[in-house]
């Protein structure tokens, strides 16, 4: 095999080198060269055939012999390597997302009493809109590190720009089940926090993620994970983060403002069911953290503590995910914010409030391509007191909640069309919201996390 491959490569070089200069040669010379090439090709083809026959014969012989033969691995693997410089190009993918969204009430006026929203949280734009267009690039750096980049291309006020969403490096060869990640990444807390938008089962995040984490907590820092050497999946993770983004802010504590810990555990129940559970805790320090009305924001200074309990259960007949499957998941989030709010007027009042949020959702795929899902999500809070009466921090009489239905169709793993209906009872007035969404990806095939 090895000889044959060398011959092929060698004969390619032999043919290509003279051809490269053929432009300048007169026509008759080209004819002569062609004839020569044809003759050489014929000769080599017959020799390659002969060698192939000999290799086959040798293989047959070696199989019948008792001793293990040298692996043909080296020969075969060398055939797939090419000499071009771009063989080290990383795996790349582009993800296209967009939607059309309709509201009964103007989403510009949307707010949830008691839960001033920050960052990307809140309703998506009304009407036709391009969502996040995302470039994913990843590859092994060397034998000890791998790197990942998610770079959304965003258009804001008519100006297109490229952002760095995630950019991290991770170890691949630490001993004893450890792994470390550093750079900018979605924190490993909860289940929904580190899932990219194109992998969500609904168009938007549950209310609790919107209110407590400004959709998803993304920050700069380091993460250390340890996987226990047990048959039961048991993973411990710890993070120290800069604290530059909601629910942190101001990069307090000299740029070490956030700490997070989590433990995940999971396993199978027979060959059709599997589960993943987890507990997470996040402590963040906030300095002049803004939320609420963008033009007249509230500012929070203090500590925020967040705990999350999660449970995900997935089912498919004998584990054949593509034929039929069911995902049931739920999370419960508890948060305490202790500090002070500066109101738009300039007054500062002490604030110490406990808030909770939770959701439960189920997505069922009865047969290939089609899925249907339902979600219920809600928030609850103690009122922060009379100092905040009439502000965005005052809670309403009833708890904010939403009811959502979803139907999607995926022609392949790379394309998805979705329709979603939400009855929103979280904003100032009850509102019916509906929309269509598309998610398409091209390029490298990313493996999906559980």
């Amino acid at each position: 095999m090895c000889i044959r491959d060398l011959l092929i490569i060698w004969s390619c070089i032999f043919f290509l080198v003279p051809m490269a200069g053929a432009d300048a040669a007169p026509a008759s010379e080209i004819e002569t060269l062609r004839a020569e090439i044809a003759a050489v090709r014929q000769e080599y083809e017959s020799r390659i055939r002969e060698l192939e026959n000999r290799v086959t014969a040798a293989e047959q012989k070696s199989r019948s012999g008792p001793a293990a033969t040298a692996p043909p691995q080296a020969a075969v693997e060398s055939a797939s390597a090419s000499a071009s410089a771009n063989v080290f190009n990383p795996a790349m993918a582009a993800i296209f997302q967009g939607q059309v969204w309709g509201y009964g009430h103007d989403p510009e006026d949307y707010r949830i009493p008691g839960f001033p929203l920050a960052g990307e949280a809140g309703p998506v734009d009304r009407g036709l809109a391009l969502g996040e267009t995302e470039l994913d690039i990843n590859a092994n750096v060397d034998d000890k590190f791998t790197a990942w980049l998610t770079a959304p291309i965003v258009v804001e006020d008519g100006e297109a720009g490229i952002e760095v969403e995630e950019a991290w490096v991770e170890t691949t060869a630490l001993p004893a089940g450890f792994a470390a990640r550093f750079g900018r990444f979605f924190s490993g807390i909860g289940y929904q926090n580190n899932r990219h938008a194109h992998a969500w089962d609904f168009l938007d995040q549950p209310l609790a993620y919107q209110a407590f984490l400004a959709v998803q907590y993304l920050d700069d820092g380091v993460q250390l994970r340890w996987l226990a050497p047990t048959d039961l999946f048991l993973e411990f993770g710890g993070e120290v983060l800069r604290g530059g983004r909601y629910p942190a802010g101001g990069s307090e504590d000299h740029g070490f403002g956030t700490r997070a810990f989590y433990v995940h555990s999971g396993g199978d129940l027979g060959d059709s069911s599997s589960w993943l559970a987890g507990l997470s805790w996040l402590h963040a320090e906030a300095g002049d953290r803004e939320s609420g009305d963008e033009d007249a924001p509230l500012q929070f200074n203090g500590d925020t503590d967040l705990a999350i309990a999660q449970l995900v259960w997935k089912w498919s007949p004998h584990g054949n995910w593509r034929d039929e499957n069911l995902i049931v998941q739920g999370e419960y989030l508890w948060r305490n914010e202790d500090g002070s709010y500066t109101l738009p007027g300039g007054a500062t009042s002490a604030y110490d409030t406990e808030q909770t949020g939770w959701y439960v959702q189920a997505v069922y795929q009865p047969f290939p391509r089609w899925r249907v899902g339902a979600r219920f999500d809600a928030l609850s809070a103690t009122d922060p007191g009379p100092a905040f009466a009439g502000t965005e921090l005052a809670t309403a009489g009833s708890d904010p909640k939403r009811y959502t239905l979803m139907l999607d169709w995926s022609n392949s793993e790379f394309s998805r069309l979705r329709v979603q209906y939400t009855y929103d009872d979280a904003g100032l007035t009850g509102d019916s919201q509906w929309g269509l969404q598309y998610i398409h990806s091209i390029g490298a095939h990313g493996a999906h996390a559980f």
């Binding site: 008792p66 048959d231 999946f233 048991l234 498919s316 559980f450």
Partner: protein, 298 residues
């Protein structure tokens, strides 16, 4: 408090498998081959069963835990497991089984791969740029893979190297004998025309000289459609083919529909050990494949 913590840690470590070599096989055929060579010295776990389509499983937490403790990962490769294995390897925190290390073996690289596409485009369905990954359906390929696997096992577990070598010698003798028998039994099947559900049988066709007329899937990985089945019926309806073939995990509806209308026998063949009642190991898998093909011979 400290004592409780220590007990917990001890308990967790005691749960870890204690064989000389822990092997994570992506498919049951490689688990079976590891068992033939490793016997009692190895603890082998198969990520998929013969009733699962190895293209499409979830990167489950239980599989991440198994990767964590593995000393050797053996997979078909050629992108068969691309939807889940990379996620397991990145979450499993085990540097000893990453691609490129001795602890990772992609067996399709050890044989002559078929159906390597000249160009790849997702409009053509689920493409495997490195060729067809279902290499286990030609018993000669198993014979080529066994010595490399045994050498790898000996490298990773030198204490049992002699045992692996002896087991390989014994396996190779029995396998070559069986292959000679299957070669002879398969001769009458040469030239038979088959319509498989998916391109799962390229290596079987190459070995037995079967002729593949088309697939029940309109494109690789795309479920059969009524229009495509009608087209197959129009083309091969009146005895235009000898067998319609599916595996135990592929939906029976399409092959039964075509079989009923065309009179072409529809067969279930084991793609892995465990794929049929009789295919309990690698030897019986090929016995059963030939029994079923010869039994249905028209």
């Amino acid at each position: 408090m400290h004592r409780i913590f220590l007990c917990l840690v001890c308990w967790m470590f005691s749960l870890a498998a204690r064989a000389d070599l822990n092997v994570f096989a992506c498919e049951p055929e490689w688990a079976a081959l590891v068992n033939e060579i490793g016997g009692g010295h190895v603890d082998v776990y198969s990520a998929t069963t013969a009733l699962q389509d190895p293209h499409y499983i979830q990167a489950r937490p239980s599989l991440i835990a198994k990767i964590r403790s593995a000393g050797l990962v053996v997979c078909s490769g050629a992108q068969l497991e691309i939807g889940w294995l990379p996620a397991l390897l990145s979450k499993g925190n085990n540097g000893a089984v990453q691609p490129g290390t001795p602890g990772f073996l992609e067996v399709s690289k050890l044989v002559r791969r078929l159906e390597i596409p000249a160009s790849v485009d997702r409009a053509q369905g689920d493409m495997h740029p490195e060729g067809n990954p279902h290499v286990q359906t030609n018993p000669h390929n198993i014979g080529l893979i066994a010595p490399v696997l045994a050498a790898r096992m000996a490298q990773l577990d030198p204490a049992n190297a002699a045992a692996y070598k002896d087991a390989l010698t014994d396996f190779t003798r029995r396998w070559d004998e069986a292959v000679a028998g299957w070669d002879a039994r398969g001769t009458p099947l040469k030239g038979k025309r088959i319509i498989p559900h998916h391109k799962s049988w390229a290596y079987l066709e190459d070995w037995l000289g079967l002729q593949e007329l088309g697939n029940l899937e309109p494109l690789p990985g795309v479920p059969p459609t009524a229009a495509h089945l009608s087209d197959l019926l129009a083309r091969f309806g009146e005895g235009g083919a000898d067998f319609i073939v599916r595996t135990s995990f592929q939906d029976e509806k399409a092959s039964l529909w075509l079989s009923e209308r065309s009179g072409i026998p529809a067969l279930v063949l084991p793609l892995s050990p465990g794929g049929t009642e009789h295919a309990t190991d690698l030897f019986r898998m090929f016995d059963d494949i030939l029994d079923r093909l010869l039994g249905a011979k028209s």
